[in-house]
């Protein structure tokens, strides 16, 4: 087979997803007779895509080290509840800070168990997923937190999800900022090189002096912060949050990362691909809504996509690395 083609696939694992997104978008536009590409619908897709993408970026960084973070759904819930619960009392600035601190702490907790104690990340973060979902339910116990009118007037509230710029929710701008910053860190800095190295071969990285523990701990903190921030962005957009906030988001975040070309075995990720992965999932969701399909079917579609994407990932990796 063609060597240059293999090089292309290896260096740009997101290529397939981006091509698929373009094809699907065209199909959706045609099937919905333009409804899917209407300004209003695209604005709505951009907000949900941005929130999901920010979580998925954090997930991708964890996946880069060969681990996984299933807790992001409930971390975003805790972020949202902390933000909306505190904002009316202390203002949205301090509430934002508190939400971010929650993300750091939960990320650090995951990091301690996975990086320091060496427990399997799948189990640890499954545990913290339920743990913080439980705390979210307990804290709200049937109530929901809502943004008051005065909070909605605050600049920070609008800057972290409450407001729009040129008709587009600010979440989209945040997603692009996070994308650029992480892209630079992962692919252009020594820390990024070590993150990828740890995912590629932890023992070899360690033998070259890389602190595997610090790297893994670090990526969980980043993932926690981004999940909490995504929760804040979504909460400020919606204006209220209850105990179920963020539920099943972890699935979509993992799916977006895998769709985007992040290899679950670690060491190979694409953040741009992850953005397109998030867009694809949210685009499909929106398409199903426009077709008036029951929302439950979305989960089925996500599950199907993840399984197919994993298969494609393996096939492509094998193809790309064949000598």
């Amino acid at each position: 087979m063609n060597v240059s083609m293999r090089n292309t696939v290896r260096r740009h694992p997101e290529g397939i997803t981006i091509s698929l997104v373009i094809l699907i978008s065209l199909a959706f536009a045609v099937i919905t007779q333009g409804g899917w590409v209407s300004i209003g619908n695209l604005q709505s897709i951009s907000q949900v895509t941005a929130v999901l993408a920010i979580m998925a970026f954090g997930e991708a960084i964890v996946i880069a080290t060969g681990e996984i973070d299933i807790s992001v759904g409930s971390v975003s819930g805790i972020g949202a509840l902390t933000f909306l619960g505190l904002a009316p009392m202390v203002g949205s600035g301090l509430a934002l800070l508190a939400a971010i601190v929650c993300g750091i702490l939960i990320g650090a907790l995951n990091g301690v168990f996975v990086a320091l104690l060496g427990l399997p990340s799948l189990l640890v973060t499954l545990g913290t997923l339920f743990l913080f979902q439980g705390i979210g339910y307990a804290a709200t116990s049937g109530f929901s937190f809502a943004a008051t009118d005065s909070v909605r007037q605050e600049f920070i509230y609008n800057a972290v999800g409450g407001g729009n710029i040129a008709g587009v929710n600010v979440a989209a701008i945040w997603a692009l900022i996070v994308l650029v910053v992480l892209q630079l860190i992962v692919f252009e800095t020594p820390v990024g090189n070590r993150i990828l190295a740890v995912g590629g071969d932890a023992a070899s990285s360690f033998s070259r002096g890389v602190s595997v523990t610090k790297i893994k701990f670090g990526v969980y903190v980043v993932s926690g912060v981004l999940a909490a921030f995504a929760g804040v962005l979504d909460a400020a957009f919606i204006g209220y949050a209850d105990g179920s906030f963020g539920a099943t988001m972890e699935l979509s975040a993992i799916a977006a990362a895998v769709l985007g070309g992040c290899s679950l075995t670690g060491g190979r990720i694409s953040l741009i691909g992850t953005l397109f992965g998030a867009f694809m999932l949210r685009g499909i969701q929106s398409f199903l809504i426009l077709l008036a399909v029951q929302p439950q079917w979305y989960i089925l579609v996500v599950g199907l996509i993840v399984v197919l994407a994993s298969l494609a990932d393996r096939t492509l990796t094998r193809f790309a690395l064949k000598k």
């Binding site: 090089n7 290896r10 630079l184 252009e188 800095t189 020594p190 990024g192 090189n193 070590r194 990828l196 190295a197 995912g199 590629g200 071969d201 023992a203 070899s204 990285s205 360690f206 033998s207 070259r208 002096g209 890389v210 602190s211 670690g266 060491g267 190979r268 690395l321 000598k323």
Partner: protein
């Protein structure tokens, strides 16, 4: 702790292993090993599979701390075991099974753990130009194909090429100590000869070279001293001239049970 000079040698050892043991759970990989290594010396570390050679090297290169015993580097006791620390002290190790991340490019592997940076607005970014140019120069000097692009993932190299890469990296970053764990694995006959020449050259440049191998005949030709391990213990430690390769092979074959011929059985 006052340390006496070992075995009548008046020089100060560069690396001194004192009564080191290492257990993984119930398994004793090393039992009470004491051995000194000197600057400018090529030491052959020989023994059968599972003798503890690699385990000893993992301690020296900071991967595993010993369960008990002491390790001195240049007279200073090592208390914190980490590969980074060993690299900072000037020790490069060519590990047998690890040392390369398949998912990274040749250049990124070359500089892994000591990436060159250029500051942009005070932030540390990888100096990709330096990574590319330096690593390309080194690997091609060491005989990798011209078609090897250092931006390619290292997984695309063959086993022999990867081994050559590891040797090139260790030799170029050389400082005071080079440890080679079965360095001639995957290599052709000609490449083997080259690696052995290289080991001698490095020694002549004043480095300590610890060379691990199964092949007593091969190492006997080039080493200054032979250390034989068996079952996690040091069983023989002799200058090359003190014993023939055949006699040393006899010791290994007998499972370290010292034959009467062994002059300096520990």
């Amino acid at each position: 702790m006052a340390k006496t000079d070992g075995a009548g040698d008046s020089r100060k050892p560069l690396i001194s292993i004192r009564n080191v043991s290492l257990s993984y759970g119930n398994f004793r990989a090393l039992t009470d090993v004491s051995v000194d290594f000197y600057q400018g010396e090529l030491v052959g570390l020989v023994g059968d599979n599972g003798a503890g050679k690699t385990t000893l090297i993992r301690i020296i290169s900071g991967i595993n701390p010993p369960t008990s015993g002491e390790v001195y580097f240049d007279g200073e006791r090592i208390t914190k075991f980490h590969p980074k620390k060993a690299m900072d002290l000037g020790l490069e190790c060519i590990q047998q099974t690890i040392g390369i991340c398949d998912n990274l490019s040749v250049g990124r592997n070359y500089f892994l753990g000591r990436e060159p940076v250029k500051r942009v607005f005070g932030l540390p970014f990888l100096d990709k130009k330096k990574i590319r140019e330096t690593s390309a120069k080194v690997v091609h000097e060491f005989g990798l194909r011209d078609t090897v692009d250092v931006d390619d993932e290292i997984a695309l190299l063959s086993g022999g090429e990867k081994q050559t890469f590891k040797i090139a990296r260790a030799v170029t970053f050389r400082n005071r100590v080079i440890i080679m764990d079965e360095p001639t694995n995957h290599l052709s006959v000609r490449e083997r000869a080259h690696v052995n020449e290289l080991a001698v050259q490095l020694k002549q440049q004043g480095l300590l070279v610890i060379y691990i191998t199964h092949d007593i005949f091969q190492i006997h030709r080039i080493a200054d001293r032979i250390v034989i391990m068996e079952n996690g213990r040091k069983v023989t430690d002799v200058p090359r001239d003190a014993m023939s390769a055949e006699a040393l092979e006899g010791i290994i074959r007998d499972g370290g049970r010292a034959s009467a011929k062994g002059p300096k059985v520990a």
